[in-house]
């Protein structure tokens, strides 16, 4: 069975500081990995994804994540955060070829950016 562990439930940082949100997964088959973001009072939206190819993936707003197969990790990083990055971040995993393609989510990490 697949599982996702987000190691930090809350991460408070100051504006313009770097941040890393940690995500580890467990799976016996090849995986596809995602980070979703949920801004206050909004729905879940995709931030970035790893399906294949380069292990370093980037989003349009400066976030990046690296797929590390040996460490079964997919940590999310941003070198300089903004107030507007305050949100709930969810790491998720799925695979292809099993009964379904539903996402298995972690419990989420609340990123709070203050000035």
């Amino acid at each position: 069975a697949q599982s996702v562990t987000q190691l930090d439930s809350q991460v408070p940082v100051f504006e313009e500081a770097p941040v890393e949100l940690r995500c580890n997964y467990s799976s016996s088959v090849s995986v596809y990995l995602f980070w979703y973001v949920q801004y206050p009072n909004q729905g879940l939206q995709l931030l970035l994804k790893y399906l294949s190819g380069s292990t370093l993936v980037e989003s349009i707003n400066g976030f990046e994540a690296e797929f590390n197969k040996s460490q079964t990790s997919f940590h999310l990083r941003k070198p300089s955060v903004h107030i507007s990055d305050t949100a709930e971040y969810f790491c998720a995993v799925t695979s292809f070829g099993q009964a379904g393609t539903a996402l298995i989510f972690g419990k989420g990490t609340t990123l709070s950016v203050s000035s």
């Binding site: 996702v4 596809y32 995602f34 979703y36 909004q42 729905g43 879940l44 939206q45 995709l46 994804k49 399906l51 969810f90 998720a92 799925t94 695979s95 292809f96 009964a99 379904g100 393609t101 539903a102 996402l103 298995i104 989510f105 972690g106 419990k107 989420g108």
Partner: protein, 113 residues
Amino acid sequence: EAGVAQSPRYKIIEKRQSVAFWCNPISGHATLYWYQQILGQGPKLLIQFQNNGVVDDSQLPKDRFSAERLKGVDSTLKIQPAKLEDSAVYLCASSFDPPDEQYFGPGTRLTVT
């Protein structure tokens, strides 16, 4: 393009009552998912449809939850009778080419008193 639509946005019911949620996926998306998100947790799959067929309902509490997707487009999720522990946000998502990106609706926040 229009996103995933869900209604109602909020619902308050008493335990043992019944409730239904509606979802309209993005046009052309054959795959539809219902997730349950309890406060403080990540979303958890209830059921996955491919067109109007069920792909995975292994985590759906079938004694009280039911879902259908007639004609392979809109879907409804029903709870009957509701329990206090069903208080959660119910999310609908759709995908054109799984396991690629899933697009989520705004969710329905259910409170059972």
